[in-house]
Assembly symmetry: D3
Homo-oligomer: 240 residues x 6
């Protein structure tokens, strides 16, 4: 099977890193196709950028010429998953939801540790929209921006592990979801620091997408995610 | 004061009708500036179209060269309000939220009557995102598409009035919010049929936007709606 | 239009100050009529006093001989709004609800800062009764009694600004509602200390009442706020 | 021990009937003191009347010259319990809450069947204020006014039993709370019609009040129900 | 009347102490029958032990040869109450629910103070299952194991009183429920330390069970607690 | 990897059928080990039987002598998953939760269709305990007992498909979870009748268990699911 893993920002090195992470979790016989959106912010850290990414991801998948069996939207706390579900029949898995859903099988409550304080509300809203708030103990920010993670990985890893430890101690989280990109060694460090299972959204999403495909399940088209009605779309997509 | 009233779809006649409705509710001294988005669907009735509209509305306001004091996003159950709040300091009022917020002052619970069944979840999600679900008795669809409203206004008015009556009788709504565009005579017909107050989102939004401006209030910039951080946006906006 | 602004306590100087605040927010052509209840506590800070005020406010408005277009109940976290809605057809606006409803247009969450710890539950209950809890981050008390506000305004302003800052920092509030009377300079000081928008209930209520009147909207009479059924009321109102 | 059972309306025959019901449930050694409020509506069926009753009940108990061990507020869905808790140290039991709390020990969910449709929201709000909504399946109205119950008891009993049967069948209630006065034969008829346990608020309240007194428990005075602060109350209570 | 009070663990001295506590709260004419389960853990402090206790309690009551009028399950935060309700017609009262339900009549919110941190989620889940979460301010652990309470009562009393004080101060609890066994002097010490009413589950349960019996109320058999259908149970109960 | 799939009832033919269903969904290299509990009801349809099954499943797995990588509890709406999580480190997947969690990736809301009316509350409680209620549109019963499904499969299939259609139409479900055993042709028939995706709990659980194992994730042991403390367990397990 072939799974598209679509980055939400336009930094190619992040796409590459997400792609590797996804491939590492894939079963034999699964092909991971990492995609970078055709337009948008180099890193997505707020509503405007996330709405832009939502459309960019949809257009990028629409422009993809090869067949595929599932789509993973690989951004934390992003808008847009509902649009992908309308446009395509194959399963669509958002990594924020994949992580939360997986975490719920491992402990009574989970916390998400993310980058900047301003992305906390976006993640909370995405979790709420997916009906996964009841067991969410907290969403916490480490204060590191997305691109800081690439610039000073060691400081980022420490800040994130500290915040995760606070979630376990103060918010009574029993599982941690990592709401930020694939730094080497991050998961191990947080497990070591907190003693709780740590879920990464990209790898969780790969196993969920594979499972849905293997079970022959596709998006319900009966109401919310029915295909768009045929109509005139003015000035879109832009000519390039 | 000058208030931008931005249509979410690209049908100019609807922009015109919304503009007239808004102007009718404005105080002396308020200038209403109706805008049609620079790209997008002729009518917005689902997630893909709504995400596209979200970005189109933001870009349309960004491209506006005159100063303004408030923004009204004039679509029912649409994505995007949070992005406008990030990009601009002036108050942003979504008409779905304006209607619900106004209805809550008039009765113990309210229902929304909208067009197609598929837009019901979008409206429910918008109301939830705004924290206005607790007094929402129901969101009901009349089965009429947006463009049907223009094509056969009398049938539309009847279908909507019937659905409103069901909301009052079966869901115990005490106020009706009209989740669809400005047809002449619609409000009167629904009041007559149900005996309850009927709130129109566009006119409610105009009075709220004026109130916020008069009170000197602007969007909080402390966290969720802080301005986007400076960064590179690739291939955007599209060249035209 | 003429708006009654009814104080909940019997201290005339507070009525006067509320009246001035309201008049300052009113549009040209709006007449503000401040009223002091005919009986009750000099300041309302608990359930017994608030229930007494509820009835006193209703009787005061019933005894008012001039026509009016809207009623504002100018007390924070008080009982009684539902009774006024039954007795009269014109819109009734409670200032606790007006502030919360306004705050929700400005930020993702709001906190209320009030006087005494004992009034916190009353405010929480009023907000819940109005369906406005979902975006309420906290209700906090400054520890200053209502009459302290008049006696040592500077200490009061400082205590309130400190509590507001804690709400923004610890409870992640993005807007502050002031749940206490009109001290000069209070709003400015809290804005300065917290950097977030500050909403005053009285002025918010004036703009909402004006808006409802302008839109021709009145209280729904279909169920909860239907007029009292004709019946014998023993020994009431008291002879004076 | 001596328990005050305070009617909320001024119809003495209802006080008498409530008193008899209460006495029938009391333990040996418990004295039931039925009281009629000193002012107010002959029957309480809405917010204005209920707020009036709230104050009338408080003043009636304040004027009571004999010692007592507990207070029962014997009205369904009424305002005021919180004020009684402030004014007195002894336990205060509201019959709506007593019935709901008792019902929860007997089945997974309960419904309340009351008189008029307009009192449904009052009961819902009282249940919510007491934190007892989670297991409330529905509040339903039989359409009979309070005084109808006295005028045509047989028709009332039938209408109520029918509504109770609907609650069990359609709302999946497993217990019925009777939200209306003590008609002879009512409980038996509803049990027979529905096959589920039927809880009467007055008798439930008597056993709860007795239990609290026997356990030596009194109202918490630490915050919400602290005694009113000493202050000037203007023109109250009225001279008679 | 005769009430079975069933311990959840197999330590006979605890059964004895619970029995004495229950007898102290019983009315004249009520016989308390304390029972120790026929198998299970010496102290119950987690899910496995609690599920085992659930079945052990049911089998112990099934094996009881004398008639009885009510059953009290005397463990804090335990599984199993629903099974007892299926097997027997008489009222079943869980002490966690009895304490919470009683506390709600005394203050606006309550906290539970229990033994080990690991039992906190069990108590939270039991409270939620009973629909009593809305007014629960917190469940807090003192860190003392069940058997520690017997070994060093004074240290236990101090640890519990400290935790109760934190619940009142930090979580705004107005009543404390003691979620741990009957140590002499515990209740007095917590009242003294916190100034709020303290509810003990066993004594609260006795008064509730007595009340239900006196009112002639029994478990609803209409759906959730209908008797088990006749069927083959393999290898159960075990031969002894 | 080796996954234990534990039936909750003692009917061996059901264990066999569950085992085949599970094996059909397993990846190459996964060994499915179906187990029948060592004691308990031939079919589990209520609280007593389910509590008995909870313990029987735990004891059955404890007695299992081969190593294993994950446990699936294959009963709908059953007690006990929390106990398994305490006793073992490997992931534990309950089929009710597996189905719900999977359904949430396919549509905005899901309904469960089960056997008897009396099991509806058990399923609702299991879904609530797992934090998966927010997107649950309804739990509906077909009226067929577990063993009826084996006796008259065609009638069962029809009854279930009809109920599923009602969930889609009346409760607005977009996905159906089948809360009953593996009848041949059931899934196909319900898909055909409703047009929405249909999720089977056993197969969903297999893919989730495999995913957790592949990702190296195990149950959090930090609080709720910490191993039982060492202590004396009297008279257990029973000698056979």
């Amino acid at each position: 099977m072939r799974i598209l893993v679509v980055n939400v920002n336009t930094t190619a090195s992040i796409t590459e890193s997400i792609g590797e992470q996804a491939a590492g979790a894939a079963s034999p016989g699964t092909e991971i196709v990492p995609l970078t959106p055709v337009f948008g912010a180099e890193s997505v850290e707020g509503n405007y950028e996330s709405y832009l990414a939502a459309i960019a991801v949809m257009e990028t998948v629409r422009a993809h010429r090869e067949p595929f069996d599932a789509i993973i939207q690989a951004g934390y706390g992003e808008h847009g998953r509902e649009g992908l579900q309308e446009l395509f029949d194959v399963p669509v898995v958002d990594i924020t939801e994949a992580a939360a859903s997986t975490a719920q099988f491992l402990g009574r409550s989970y916390s998400v540790v993310t980058t900047l304080d301003r992305t906390v509300p976006l993640i909370e809203d995405r979790i709420a929209a997916a009906g996964l708030s009841a067991r969410c103990a907290s969403v916490r920010a480490s204060g590191m921006a997305v691109l800081d993670l690439e610039r000073d990985p060691q400081a980022a890893v420490d800040a994130i592990a500290d915040e995760a430890a606070r979630a376990v101690q103060d918010d009574r989280a029993e599982v941690i979801c990592l709401g930020c990109g694939g730094m080497s060694g991050l998961t191990e460090r947080v497990v070591e620091r907190t003693g709780v299972p740590v879920v990464d959204g990209v790898t969780a999403a790969v196993t969920i997408a594979e499972s849905l495909v293997r079970l022959g399940l596709t998006t319900s088209k009966v109401r919310t995610y029915a295909p768009p009605r045929p109509k005139r779309i003015a000035n879109w997509p832009p000519q390039r």
